[in-house]
């Protein structure tokens, strides 16, 4: 096993290994919702899904691993304690992850086989004398130094903050290799190092840590200092290529980009760009062993009048750092208490959000002060494959999203019919579409229930989803109606499903539609249209009502090839409202609001 733990395989450890294999605790990539959409039942297969990678010993990859999630999956894998295993269901290329220990088909049968195989793998190789550290570009860490009070001050070397004179605090940023095309170095904070499950990676030994640091720190240093110039805040005529002291007044030189617009960065604070954590929370902690007390004699030349006139009032200690001065530019909070903000990534593998969706919340206490959203934007891949034959397109649409592929294919069929000039009567297909919608609704309910910890509801919704998926819809019609009625009426669930004023259909409307669908749905997939003639030409458009709003597809077909395609999905529009609907909300409430939107990460743009 590649993820074995170092050590001799003693008799006692054999017992431990058997226990690990008998009851694997899995973390699912991209997420449990995807596993549900693929018709998998983890608990029935003898697996125990867990929320945190630290509690897991098996990384379960469901379906092909999207390249955009690969780095985050590597971080996730690195966060798992050893011994750890990788199970790939229907996934082939796992780089940068090591090859999977168990590869099986993407089905419940496959899952069962994988569980069996895991047991053997653990029993045989959970411990090993020789283990290799897992390393991936996404894990490499570059240390940069930032001021706890001025997050916009970023330097590659330790020293004092040019604005307030505080000792700069080391902070981890993503390695040079992990950021492709991000020009600004401050964006690293929100980038790959944070893209994983938690705000930081994890280390198995000091040697690995040191190695990363030395390696990446060295590499990026040269790159950064090339572009940056350093200037004195008091004497703008002094411009140097290297950090140092001003020859006129002795102040520490500050890098040009922080000198340019000290206020501008604060303005950008609510967005994801700058890492707003100032000391407390995700970064700043206890590490004063390396540094002594702040040595004032070291920067004796620091000119305090640069702050403001206020500091010179008699009776105030000469080296006093005014907190009023330092915090006055920071953005205010909704409650008027300006506190330190932290940017916390939720996702892409967050247990309460759709798998693949990355939500970054700026938290002020536990109140959301800003939000950013990143999906996988796979709709763009469709544009890249044009012109394409209808069959290719259909295949691509089927693989586009595990959640809404059914809708896409139905859209394609009806758009093609429209292009042929036939009247598209979606009402004919409405029973089949209603079933698709119901499946979506059940996943939506299960997701919300998981987020809110209502395990029973989640299990029920997932069970019904499974029955509906394998075509036992008629048998569970009554149960579906019962579930729907319960959600509409039960007082304990009312706080969740009574949200108003959000974009898209309100939860109450969606539940009402669900009740209609339960009465109307038929147990079959939308009928496929007959393949049109190979030389057909035309333009067609189709609209399908999904649970979250209308999806629209416009096609231009020339001589049997699709040359132009416009796919408009509800998630694209809904994603724009994220910042608005989460603003000033408590964290759990904000997550619930995002979850209520039922975004499909495969549709949301980056």
């Amino acid at each position: 096993m590649i993820g074995a733990r170092e050590g001799a395989f003693t008799a006692f450890r054999r017992v431990l290994a058997r226990a690990m294999g008998a009851q694997p605790r899995v973390i699912v990539v991209p997420g449990r919702d995807v596993a549900v959409a693929r018709g998998l039942d983890l608990i029935a297969a003898g697996l125990e899904p867990v929320a945190s990678p630290r509690h897991a010993n098996v990384l379960l990859i469901v379906g092909p691993l999207h390249p955009q999630l690969a780095d985050a999956a590597a971080t996730l894998y690195a966060q798992m304690p050893r011994p750890r295993a990788i199970v790939a269901l229907g996934a082939e290329n796992l780089t940068p992850l090591p090859p999977a220990d168990v590869v099986c088909a993407l089905s419940q049968e496959g899952l069962r086989e994988a569980t069996q195989a895991l047991q053997e793998r653990f029993a045989a190789g959970a411990f090993s004398e020789t283990v290799k550290d897992f390393d991936a570009p996404a894990l490499a860490v570059r240390v940069e130094y930032t001021c706890p009070m001025h997050p916009e001050v970023v330097s590659d070397e330790p020293g004092n903050c040019p604005k307030c004179g505080m000792t700069l605090v080391p902070k981890e940023a993503a390695a040079a290799g992990a950021h492709d095309g991000h020009g600004e170095k401050r964006e690293h904070g929100a980038n790959a190092a944070h893209a994983g499950h938690h705000g930081h990676g994890h280390q198995h030994g000091q040697k690995a840590h040191g190695g990363h640091q030395a390696h990446s720190g060295h590499e990026t240093h040269g790159q950064a200092s090339e572009a940056t110039t350093y200037t004195c805040p008091m004497h703008p005529e002094i411009v140097r290529n290297e950090p140092g002291q001003c020859p006129i007044c002795g102040m520490t030189l500050i890098s040009s980009d922080s000198a340019d617009s000290p206020g501008g960065h604060h303005g950008a604070h609510p967005e994801m760009g700058s890492d707003g954590s100032t000391g407390h929370g995700a970064h700043g902690k206890m590490d004063h062993s390396a540094r002594g007390k702040m040595d004032h004699s070291n920067h004796g030349g620091m000119d305090h009048s640069a702050h403001s006139a206020g500091t010179d009032v008699p009776g105030i200690e000469p080296n006093f750092m005014s907190m009023v001065e330092m915090t006055k530019d920071l953005p205010a909070s909704g409650d008027g208490l300006r506190m330190e903000w932290i940017d916390v990534p939720f996702g892409p593998f967050h247990p309460g959000l759709p798998g693949g969706l990355t939500l970054t919340l700026s938290l002020d206490g536990d109140t959301v002060a800003g939000a950013g959203l990143r999906g996988l934007a796979r709709a763009a891949e469709l544009q890249a494959m044009l012109p394409a034959t209808l069959d290719d397109l259909r295949g691509a649409l089927q693989g586009l999203s595990p959640h809404n592929a059914g809708f896409y294919v139905a859209l394609l069929d009806h758009a093609v019919l429209a292009a042929l000039g036939e009247t598209t009567d979606l009402t004919v297909e409405s029973a089949a579409i209603a079933r698709l919608r119901l499946l979506g609704d059940l996943r939506w309910i299960a997701g919300l229930a998981r987020l809110k910890g209502a395990i029973d509801l989640a299990a029920r919704a997932e069970g019904l989803h499974r029955s509906l998926q394998i075509g036992h819809g008629e048998e569970i019609r009554a149960q579906l109606a019962q579930l729907c009625a319960k959600l509409q009426r039960a007082p304990v669930f009312r706080p969740i499903f009574s949200a108003k004023g959000g974009p898209g259909p309100t939860p109450a409307e969606r539940l009402a539609r669900m009740a209609q669908d339960i009465a109307a749905f038929a147990d079959r997939a939308p009928a496929e249209t007959a393949a049109p003639a190979h030389d057909m030409t035309g333009t067609g458009e189709a609209v399908v009502e999904t649970g979250r709003g209308a999806a629209r597809l416009k096609l231009t077909i020339k001589a049997g090839l699709v040359t132009d395609l416009q796919l408009v999905t509800p998630s694209q529009a809904l994603a724009g409202h994220i910042a608005h609907i989460t603003m000033h909300k408590e964290l759990g409430e904000a997550l619930a609001a995002v979850c209520l939107l039922d975004l499909d990460p495969w549709e949301v743009a980056q």
Binding site: C147, P148, M149, M166, T167, L168, V169, T278, G279, H280, H283, G284, K285, M286, D287, H288, R291, G292, K293, M294, H296, E317, N319, F320, M321, M323, M326, T327, P331, A332, S333, G334, D335, G336, L337, R338, M339, E340, G365
Partner: protein, 178 residues
């Protein structure tokens, strides 16, 4: 050396050590929790001195108080993790002198004073608790009730001071934020 003396010395040393840590660490959370452990050690001293009710009460109350202290420290400090190793003191020398003098004075008084005979007989804890209850609701009832009233007043007053006047609030936010 009696067991009581040994335990008293142990918990006393712990209380003093944690008290010093409060002002020596840069991490605000550590500082607050060091104060908690100092107070807990004081509570343990009460237990050693056979004041069971007071000891348990002290241990219970301080856990809450100091945890609240910790979150306020994190809220109000620039660098709660202590990473920047900021200097957060002033008039250090004078304070040291003042603290030292107070210590010496208190020690002097306590060591020079004539405390008279020391009591050895003591009521059992259960009886003590009962007696304390009778004291509280008998002779000292007025004091006890005023203490309760003071706490209530302080709570209400503190809340009043802390909350924002509702009308000013949105204006200020707009002014600062954007």
């Amino acid at each position: 050396m009696s067991a009581q003396l040994a335990f008293l010395a142990f918990f006393g040393a712990a209380a003093l050590w944690f008290a010093v840590v409060v002002f020596r660490t840069h991490s605000m959370v550590r500082s607050a929790l060091a104060l908690l452990f100092s107070q807990t050690a004081v509570g343990a001293m009460f237990l050693v001195m056979q004041a069971e009710f007071l000891g348990v009460l002290q241990i219970m109350m301080m856990a809450t108080e100091m945890s609240v202290m910790a979150i306020f420290m994190v809220m109000f400090m620039m660098d709660p993790g202590g990473l920047g190793a900021m200097e957060m003191t002033h008039q250090k020398k004078r304070s040291l002198w003042a603290g030292g003098l107070a210590l010496i004075a208190a020690l002097g008084v306590s060591w020079l004073g004539n405390w008279g005979p020391v009591a050895t007989q003591l009521a059992l804890p259960a009886r003590q608790t009962e007696l304390l209850g009778i004291e509280l609701l008998g002779r000292s009832m007025l004091i006890f009730e005023s203490a309760g009233l003071t706490i209530l007043t302080a709570m209400i007053a503190a809340t009043m001071v802390a909350i924002t006047p509702l009308e000013d609030e949105p204006k200020k936010e707009r002014h600062h934020g954007h």
